[in-house]
């Protein structure tokens, strides 16, 4: 009789095991949005920089080949936007309407050109969409500005140093050799101890095996 009880216990635990898995499947939600492109491929695409369109390049494009998308907030969009631009705020890219719209544009072979408050905002949307697998997307390197009820669209050159830093630094440091300041620097020098920073690689923690 004892043995029978044991098998019953085994059966009960087996059923529990099965139940857990079934419950797991019932509660399993298929992720709605999937990153199709890995961070690595996205990075490669970013470095190529051919996704950036300047305002001049935009004028030379055939207007039926692209659609402008404004990723700023609805408020900013209502105040003023580039002609024929469609508004999809960055926060609402992952909604059914927005993805349906972008899918439509992709099917029609239109290039989606994003612009935002600055190229950073547009690039946020671009990185998101590119990783989601949309490849026919570009950004417009502009900075819209609203003045006197009129919208100005300034072209922005991305990552352009405002000055020659090394040159400016040289000038700034050699401009006046005040004795006081050199003293200060000397004092600094004496206490300038070498500091060693060791960047530890993040290790995957591995549990120890056992019997």
């Amino acid at each position: 009789m004892k043995e029978l009880e044991k098998t019953k216990r085994i059966s009960i635990s087996a059923v529990l095991f099965l139940l857990i898995i079934i419950i797991g499947f019932l509660t399993y939600k298929k992720p709605k949005y999937i990153f199709k492109n890995s961070a690595e491929t996205t990075l490669k695409e970013i470095v190529k920089k051919d996704y950036i369109v300047s305002a001049n390049q935009l004028n030379s494009l055939n207007s039926s080949d692209y659609v402008l998308v404004d990723v700023r907030s609805v408020y900013d969009y209502d105040k003023g936007h580039i002609k024929d631009a469609v508004n999809i705020p960055l926060a609402q890219i992952l909604t059914d309407d927005s993805s349906a719209f972008i899918d439509n544009m992709m099917n029609e072979n239109k290039t989606v050109i994003l612009y935002g408050e600055d190229p950073d905002e547009a690039s946020s949307a671009w990185i998101l969409l590119y990783q989601l697998g949309y490849e026919n997307i570009k950004i417009l390197s502009v900075k819209p500005r609203f003045e006197d009820n009129k919208l100005y669209v300034d072209n922005v050159t991305i990552e352009k140093p405002a000055m020659n830093f090394a040159e400016v630094m040289k000038k700034a440091t050699s401009s006046s050799g005040i004795a006081k300041k050199t003293k200060l620097a000397k004092a600094d020098k004496s206490k300038a101890a070498k500091k060693v920073i060791i960047v530890k690689k993040k290790k995957k923690r591995v549990p120890e095996g056992g019997c």
Partner: protein
């Protein structure tokens, strides 16, 4: 227990049969699972929330203060090209060109828990992109210098004298910036200041899988 078998002459009890069939069915069931879809790193919904937040930005004033305080948890990363890095960079910055961000040798600078990593570039475009890529991969405690080096030069190196009409805080800020600029060598001969800021030597260890010992 063998008594039971002898007397009843059943080969296998139904419970055991049930268990055996269950196990085989479950093993076979693995074949019928639809293809697994999974996101590497964080999922898109979370990513959108992260890029909408602006708490990744650190201002030039905050950064200057932390450098002057010699904050040991600060790690500056220059995401510009090597030539630009060699021409000028912030004190103790490490050069990680954007295109090499995820290379094995460089990724360990960004993907770690020990430092507050501050990314910077000429403006904050590259640095911001590097941050977004890192965020997707789930890297923590990474920040972006708002405005980048352009902003750095406009505020710390060449601060604008505030108008008389401006509040007192503006003047205080100006004083701070002026003093900070001095720390970074404005107005002092270059050779003297070169060593004023303690040099950090940053060494990276190659990733090694730890061999764990197990036993019975």
């Amino acid at each position: 227990m063998s008594k039971r078998y002898k007397s009843k002459k059943i080969l296998v009890k139904t419970e055991y049969k049930f268990l055996a069939v269950l196990m085989i069915l479950m093993a076979a069931g693995l074949f019928f699972l639809p293809e697994k879809i999974d996101n590497e790193g964080i999922n898109p919904e979370e990513f959108v929330l992260n890029i909408l937040k602006s708490d990744r930005y650190i201002s030039t004033d905050q950064l200057a203060e932390r450098i002057i305080d010699q904050d040991p948890t600060l790690l500056l990363i220059d995401t510009r090209s090597e030539e630009e890095y060699n021409a000028f960079t912030l004190p103790n910055a490490v050069n990680v060109p954007l295109e090499k961000l995820l290379d094995e040798d460089y990724v360990s600078y960004i993907d770690q828990d020990n430092y507050d990593v501050v990314l910077f570039s000429n403006d904050n475009y590259f640095a911001d992109q590097a941050w977004k890529i890192g965020n997707r991969k789930g890297f923590k405690s990474v920040y972006v210098l708002k405005g980048g080096l352009n902003e750095w030069f406009n505020t710390i190196i060449n601060p604008k004298y505030p108008d008389e009409s401006m509040p007192e805080t503006a003047f205080k800020l100006y004083d701070f910036r002026k003093a900070a600029g001095m720390y970074f060598g404005v107005g002092a001969p270059k050779s003297e200041t070169k060593k004023a800021i303690p040099k950090k030597v940053i060494t990276v260890k190659k990733k090694k899988k730890r061999v764990a010992e197990g036993g019975c």
